[in-house]
Symmetry: D3
């Protein structure tokens, strides 16, 4: 039997026949599928130093994506034919954080092994997820360069609390997964990091840009200059977007909010500029705690960041 106004098991949504929603272009992965961008949720935040519900972000960002269409007026292009593949969310372990990191690593690797997509988006979770994720990319593609939007260095020592959301880039460097000179950090903020870790960055050759540096040199100029530099030395570039790089007025839903960061327009234009680069194959978006957000503003911004990455 068929129904006039019902689709069993489904919520009813208004459909304008001429509008394609981004979510209409997302399909669950099935063996053999090919698509433009793969999406994977890494719902882990028990590695956070302060208590965080960032594990709920992958679903919140996907929901926010539901209000966007596939048409870019700026590019005058409708991306409705770009297939997006959703690999789902990794099932994490309730009590074993190391096991969770391992599951994340395995899952990103398995996704890459499908070779289903040209580029990938990983949705955290806290910043701790970048370590297993980037590690998987390194295994698959070789030398990885990283452009990191962040107020913080995230190179804390591993002894005081294990692999937390404050340590991913330390883990990557110490583990020999990446080299210091292949890491670029933009948006680092005053009074938000320790001197010792600033020293560590210098020692390891990490390129660090504070908000003041960006004000003076221009965000887009820095992004382009550094991508070019990285491109010459690495096999693949990975964008790691910690949303707390953004000013708290524009991203109130991060665990560690503060004033003096990027505006929403600065974030969007810099991600767009970076995503245009040939060697950029991956992006993660981390550190959104939906339970702390206001009207999902931060998840909406993250969803828009995804669009800037996906549609180029």
């Amino acid at each position: 039997m068929s129904f006039n106004y019902l689709q069993p098991g489904k919520p009813a949504v208004f459909k304008d026949r001429f509008t394609t929603k981004v979510t209409e272009c997302i399909k669950p992965y099935e063996s053999g599928d090919r698509g433009a961008v793969g999406i994977l949720g890494l719902p882990a935040s028990k590695s956070s130093i302060s208590m965080s519900m960032a594990a709920e972000a992958p679903q919140a960002i996907r929901k926010a994506l539901g209000s966007y269409s596939t048409f870019s007026a700026t590019k005058n292009h409708d991306f409705k034919d770009d297939v997006l593949i959703d690999f789902g969310d990794v099932s994490v372990h309730p009590t074993d954080v190391e096991a969770t990191l391992d599951r994340l690593h395995v899952s990103v690797g398995e996704m890459l092994e499908t070779e289903a997509c040209e580029r990938y988006i990983m949705l955290g979770g806290d910043h701790g997820v970048s370590f297993p994720s980037i590690h998987a990319f390194q295994k698959k593609f070789g030398r990885v360069g990283i452009l990191q939007w962040d107020a913080h260095h995230d190179v804390r020592n591993l002894d005081d609390g294990g692999r937390t959301n404050g340590t991913p880039f330390r883990s990557l460097i110490e583990g020999g997964v990446i080299r210091g000179e292949d890491l670029v950090q933009i948006g680092i903020r005053d009074y938000s990091n320790a001197a010792a870790y600033d020293d560590y960055c210098e020692e390891k050759g990490i390129h660090v840009y504070t908000m003041d540096d960006l004000d003076q040199q221009g965000i887009l100029q820095v992004v382009e200059k550094e991508l070019q530099r990285l491109a010459d030395q690495v096999d693949v570039i990975y964008l790691s977007v910690d949303m707390d790089a953004v000013d708290q007025a524009f991203a109130p839903g991060c665990p560690a909010i503060g004033p003096g960061g990027f505006t929403s327009r600065e974030l969007l234009s810099s991600v767009r500029a970076a995503a245009m680069h040939e060697k950029v194959k991956a992006m993660d978006i981390v550190e959104i705690d939906p339970s702390k957000d206001v009207r999902a503003i931060t998840s909406r911004l993250a969803a828009h960041v995804m669009l800037r990455f996906m549609y180029k």
Copy 2:
């Protein structure tokens, strides 16, 4: 390819191997299916006199259902084998309220025509949805008796605003769909109705119980007495649960909240008592506006009401 920790396109949920969640027992209707209870969303609230987002309730209540299991300790029974069939939500019209009422009526009728289930739950929406819903039951089953939990009579005149959430029982009586003596209202509150509509109820033979009446006569006693009376004269009994019958402390998410209503335990026990009756075949739950709720308390209570109806 198969994955270790991923189900493509799905959020990851912790699974305890010995626990069956209610939502695991719900399946979308497919032709030929048979089940214990059918569930249908009636996401319409543009008929509300005051602005209401009650249209968002069917999804909110289903989500709340997700945290319940199938085991009743009181009955010492696991209802995991009871199949629940989800007919989805009716697609409403954005601007034509009458067309929406018609779609609701058609859809409830189509669901009943499947004869898939023994009993049905309709999730509003505002109370305006009860008119088309009960009308469909009357067409299918004959004379309908109604037990209505409500602070309000909902028999307003139709001239001042058309068919609003203040008129469903007036519409049913004036339209000859039900008889006054087949309608029982419990939980009517002082200073929440007009004298003229109290007179109307009396005139039509509606049985009305105020909170004071219930205090004196006992809620369960009234419910049982009236169900027995109705059973003698009707073909089928329909429960209509307006959540604003409940005290605002226990159901803060209704548009028209106030003090002096049912406690959560009084609501649950009275619905359970009513649901046990042979002739009770249907229930609607209406007037929850999730945007006004606190931690989904009202939707959680509604989900528990569903359980008391479904599992008997």
Copy 3:
């Protein structure tokens, strides 16, 4: 020129021709007016020990009153012909608390001098407003008996902070305005008062009932017994309803909330019982801070308390 759908300067409100709202029966006082109940706002809360926005309550309660009708199903009576007179809100002094107390006293007195109404409701503000208000009643009517719903004695010493919301009944007794034996306190809670003030109450002959006492003796029984006792010795009885006597689940908008108090139904029935007494001529409702409330639940309860007092 006249308009079809406009009343210049007014918000549009849905009007059901058969429903009379309580607010339709309220008129601003004009010289010579007579009415059943007078309403006066005492928007003062700078006397609160802890910071409080209770000064915003008179407007919040009046707004909550707007959703009630004039018909009592229990009494089967429509009170639409009872004229209610609104004397407005007292203009308080921004920085001089003593001047504010004086203005409250003068204003209550001026209202009483109009002899416009049989009974009066004063809307606080914090409990500090009861001192000037009751003082005005004493000047006009003679010996005043008081029935106070409260978790607290409010007989703190005056030296540690002047006339705060913790001192009104001390001020009344020390000032010779009332006698200890004319004051009855119901709902006093454990761990919410000092031993010294319990002693003070005993010394002055104040009749004190804790929540435990009420559980054992019955709220309505206590109210009736004490009103009868007071009636024999005073000229007029004044009800003073501190909303924090109510459990925090039912009145979350009080500055000093806590568990273990009255339910909404206990408050409403006890106020109704008290209001029926001949000698009860006045009531104040205090200690609602609308900025802390949830969906105006506490103001809605206060408005219902007003109805129980006004319509008898």
Copy 4:
């Protein structure tokens, strides 16, 4: 009798003798009145595609207006002698959206027939109100040019849902009320519109400026250039301000919020620039849902937009 600190029926407000509040200059219209600007509320949002409480905005914006004074430091002028006339809010129909649109149309027309003011502000409601409002202006004044601040084109097809908040400019063009070339849209955002409607705009000659276009050409430059163009071809210019043109950080209370829009300062300066133009006679402000707002931030911004329009 007169009172010392009371104005019966009125809330008490602190009065600084040297400060004139904007609200002190607003009076309800009476026959024969003349004023600088007329204000009319169009509290309709049942035409919204997604559920919206925008109908509550006219009262929220008026309340926000209450905290502003009449003095502009920039212009060094006190506008306290400018009379503002409040025509009230249109009484909408609870269930008949088309009837509501008709009432809005009739009411704007009746207001214009009074010829009481030189310029007018209409407060929505959702964007659906602009169709009946602009239609009334066209009937009274002839050819109308429109400058629209919006993230969206609002030229959806009329078949999928009737006249919603997504269709006003389609309705105006299809109904022959305005010409495509007389419509200018600024602030259009990527991934927020369909390709088909972008095509429609081009086809009809609508001038469209995306956020990127504005970044490159300058907001004020675009506004001035387009106003000049419109002025040459139309009789009157109407500003239509959909608040969702503003970035979600500055206007969190719109139903369809998102990142990447105007800052508050960009909105205010562009409205001020437009309002200075001779032919600009009207403005509407739409798509604020006060129930979703944070501390009335969006209504406060809207009130400031009114000031920029009213006082020139």
Copy 5:
């Protein structure tokens, strides 16, 4: 130098000279101290199945305690001379949940070794903290009987997620720390547990009382009967108060809220009854997530529960 109105480094608090606040009686433990009750924070919630911020509860409950005084009107006694000793909060491990459980166990043990107090209160954290805490009591005192207020059995299998907040009593039984017949569960709710775990409880001889059982047998009667039974067979009795035993209206700040539980008065009176028993030496309060609470209602209730335990 001394100051008139300043105490360097301290916030200023209003002091009524006759009132003793509970917090004035709490002192940090120093070697050799003796007191009536010891307080210890167990701020761990990374063992929660669903994400939880319950780790923030010890500080929230202590803050709520700050508004209570030491005087019980019911007992007519001022407990200001009862010394309360605060052992602080256990420093948990950011990423190693098993290490955290070990630290909790060690710390409770170290506290007991001080023999500083007669009785102890442990503040969770999620319910996972009860396993290491009770284990420490068993080591120190021998056979432990437990009275558990809870909607849930908390005897899940340990394989599906390790030692979570769903497993403490399973861990205790499987680990031979307690015997099934020494565990009493009150407040178990329908549709909130699995049949398999109900079977497990029966098998192990755990005494289980559902809300329905309590309604029929009386809460206080059950508590007294079971304490007497336990007292005959154990060395010490431990109360474990999972706040989600309380109805969501009275305890909205628990991770797993729902309707149909205890009222605040039922919880307080049953804890008071239990605390009076000679063999009751310890209590934990768990499962409050302050980030989800409304005006700290749940923490305030927990603080009152502490008072009922401490002062007998």
Copy 6:
């Protein structure tokens, strides 16, 4: 006895051995102490015209300070050796506003008499605290110049409400404490002040810069020019930061919020520029009402403002 994971009486906090938190450098004043910056809380807001909980700000800002470290990446300097001295909060009078102002004045004076620090930060409270605070500086240091960030002049007449938060600079000028030409106001906004007070400023020679003036002349340019001018004529410069100078999107927690103000980056850079000046010895931060804030965004911004002042 010592504990492994406990510090009695203290909450547990994660400690990274290489990170110094600002709060670790703050110590309560003891006689003879010397430090870089003194901090004093002025928790008074009963002088506010509209009801305000700004009295809670000193504790909220201190708490926000707790998440910052001592290292400035921009200056490449770790300020961990700068001693910060906390003089605590002034104990205010619950009901006597004038007495409170006097206590503030006495306390600031006593702090200055210690000569413990080179520079001082006073945390309001409402803007009324600046009068007694600046008065104390004038007594100690002589002629005081003031740079005031504010949307408002705060030179209201004293007759309509006494010394409110709208009068501090009037009080200072009328009382002969400062001269008009020694006061600079930046960020003054349209429609937020009265013409009479604009005239007053002109008359007294106050230098006033509206947001428009700053847009045109450059904020940093204005700040530097005016500091230089002041430096030539005064003994000491005092910064008075009313947080409502900031746009409501960046500082939602002020009582009098509005659009069109400073961004967070503009505030931070202008305070940093001012703080660098030799003669700047003091700063107050006022008009934050934590009860109205969103995720403590405004307090976090205020804490960052402190850092910009403290560390130079």
